[in-house]
Amino acid sequence: MQGFFLGLSNGLMCLAYCTPVLVPFMLGEGRGVAHNFVALMQFLAGRLAGYLAFGFAAWLFNVAVLGRMGPKGLFIGILYVIFSSLMMAYGIFGREMPCAVRSIDRIAGKIRIPLLIPAAAGILSGVAFCPPFLLAMTDAAAGGSLSYSIFFFLMFFAGTSLFFLPMPFVGAFRRLQVLRIIGKMAAGIVGLYYFYAGMIAVIAGIRGA
């Protein structure tokens, strides 16, 4: 469930970043709620593909790197501390999240089939290297097994996706700037939680070494 709640706590921010990409597309097409719903499903499918790929990558990372390190608590703790510090910096000190979905404008021009644009945006949002995503990857890798990593990202996907469901009814999110601020601040607070968990893991790792 940790993946689900990490997703939920970051979903608002994802929404705030992805909506400017999706909403103009939906409004531009102007084919009503049913079409918007299809576009959203394409977007979410692309996003899910990206997340599952990362679940697999997290498992590979665990096998290739963490598995050869003996007790991995200290290393995981250090990763927690680094990524959570980044997340706090982005969340609380007003830095912009490096979300890949923002480059969709450039890429969209090169996609010949318009139907694929939401899916491309979804994949980009699913392979973003933003701090919450890196934290999720660390969490997924810490679990050990392939099934855990995949399931973790599946739940992370579910948590972030809940916020997107009302999107076909465009116009519901008029105050995107406010949502973005709240989302970033919530991510900063989640970062604080992971920072604490990381510090505890580092201290325990040092004591154990």
Binding site: S9, K184, V190, Y193
Partner: protein, 388 residues
């Protein structure tokens, strides 16, 4: 631009004020005394003082047209009396302010309204209240707090934070210590932090079935009760809540003249802000009268007034309905208002309706606590101990 001193626009005549105060006095006498005269002298004195105190403030509010000035006196007194009453009660019942694991297991932890946002999702999912308090009866039961909260929310919306919260009077009081703020510029984006805290605590409470805000952040544990320090984790929690209390409830309110805990941290306040949408009362600005002197923006304790508010003719969703902007407006352009009515309508009537509901709520909610506080202070004076 030269600004005239605020006008006491919404003052009422002596006859009307006396009539309204008599009605309030009758209700408060019945409610405060619970229909019987105390036999104990200290309790009798406390009852008389509380009735006089409440009704004098109500009289002054109605007669002078000033809301915030007298509300703040009541509100801060309520908070101070709560601390006196609660701490001495804890010493009487447990021998200390700290909470032992045994008391948690016995579900003897007093419930407070700040926990409510954390209990709603777990309650819906598991049909369990994730707080070790007593449901009915006992000290500060869960059921009574829920009933009070629902009633106050329907009547006041986020006005609860200025007319009901028994902690809010602390940072409200400290925010009035200096005549001018030392820190004048605050980035308005911080008003969204309580919403982020709300999102975080609701999710973590649902994930871990634990009231995370109470465990980790609540600054008011410093003046009520806290877990006895028996581990490094509890020590860290203690450092966090003491720092938040000193920073957000004492130091920053003094330096900024804003209610920083309520405006920039409290998740309950964020939830109450959302209830402002369904509440019948709001604070509106008559754009015809407004001269954009921005005095309301300068004085608002929660940054709920902005230039955008002046353009829109309404306060932000975070407005606590304290009345400070209304008192300070030199043109009488800001007023309490009933949704669906004309902004330039009968503002005096709207104000009186709001005042009656809000004042009745705070006076009934606080009566027992203030009386208990007075009894304990009298006991301290006469016997040297506050414990009953």
């Amino acid at each position: 631009m030269k600004i005239n001193p605020p006008q006491a626009r919404q003052r009422e005549g002596m006859v009307k004020t006396v009539l309204l105060t008599v009605v309030m006095a009758v209700i408060t006498i019945i409610m405060f005394s619970k229909g019987k005269i105390p036999q104990n002298t200290k309790e009798l004195i406390a009852l008389i003082l509380t009735i006089l105190f409440a009704n004098t403030l109500f009289f002054l509010m109605v007669h002078t047209g000033k809301t915030d000035r007298y509300r703040a006196v009541y509100f801060s007194t309520f908070a101070v009396m709560l601390i006196i009453s609660f701490i001495s009660h804890m010493f009487g019942a447990r021998g200390s302010m700290s909470l032992s694991e045994a008391k948690v297991l016995q579900c003897e932890v007093p419930f407070c309204h700040l926990v409510i946002p954390m209990t709603l999702v777990p309650m819906a999912l598991t049909k369990t209240i994730i707080f070790p308090g007593s449901l009915i009866g006992g000290y500060a039961s869960i059921a009574s707090m829920f009933v009070l909260w629902i009633g106050a929310t329907l009547a006041l919306g986020r006005g609860f934070c200025s007319w009901g919260c028994f902690y809010g009077g602390l940072d409200d009081g400290f925010s009035r210590v200096l005549k001018r703020p030392v820190i004048k510029k605050i980035n308005p984006k911080w008003i969204y932090l309580p919403f982020a805290v709300l999102l975080f605590v609701v999710l973590t409470a649902a994930a871990y079935l634990s009231p995370t805000y109470c465990t980790w952040f609540c600054p008011f544990k410093a003046v009520t009760e806290f877990e006895a320090v028996t581990s490094t984790k509890i020590l860290i929690q203690t450092i966090i809540f003491v720092s938040l209390f000193i920073g957000l409830v004492i130091v920053l309110p003094i330096l900024t003249k804003r209610r920083t805990q309520c405006a920039f941290l409290c998740p309950f306040g964020a939830m109450q802000s959302l209830t402002n949408k369904i509440n019948v009362f709001d604070v509106r600005i008559d754009k015809e009268k407004c001269v954009k002197c921005k005095r309301c923006i300068q004085v608002c304790p929660t940054l709920s007034m902005s230039e955008e508010s002046l353009e829109d003719g309404r306060a932000r969703i975070t407005c606590m309905k304290c009345g400070k902007c209304i008192d300070s407006c030199p043109k009488g352009a800001i007023s309490y208002h009933i949704k669906g009515t004309d902004v330039a309508g009968n503002n005096n009537a709207y104000r009186l309706l709001f005042l009656f509901a809000a004042f009745l709520f705070i006076s009934i909610f606080s009566a027992h606590i203030i009386q208990d506080g007075i009894v304990r202070v009298l006991k301290l004076i006469t016997t040297g101990s506050m414990i009953l």
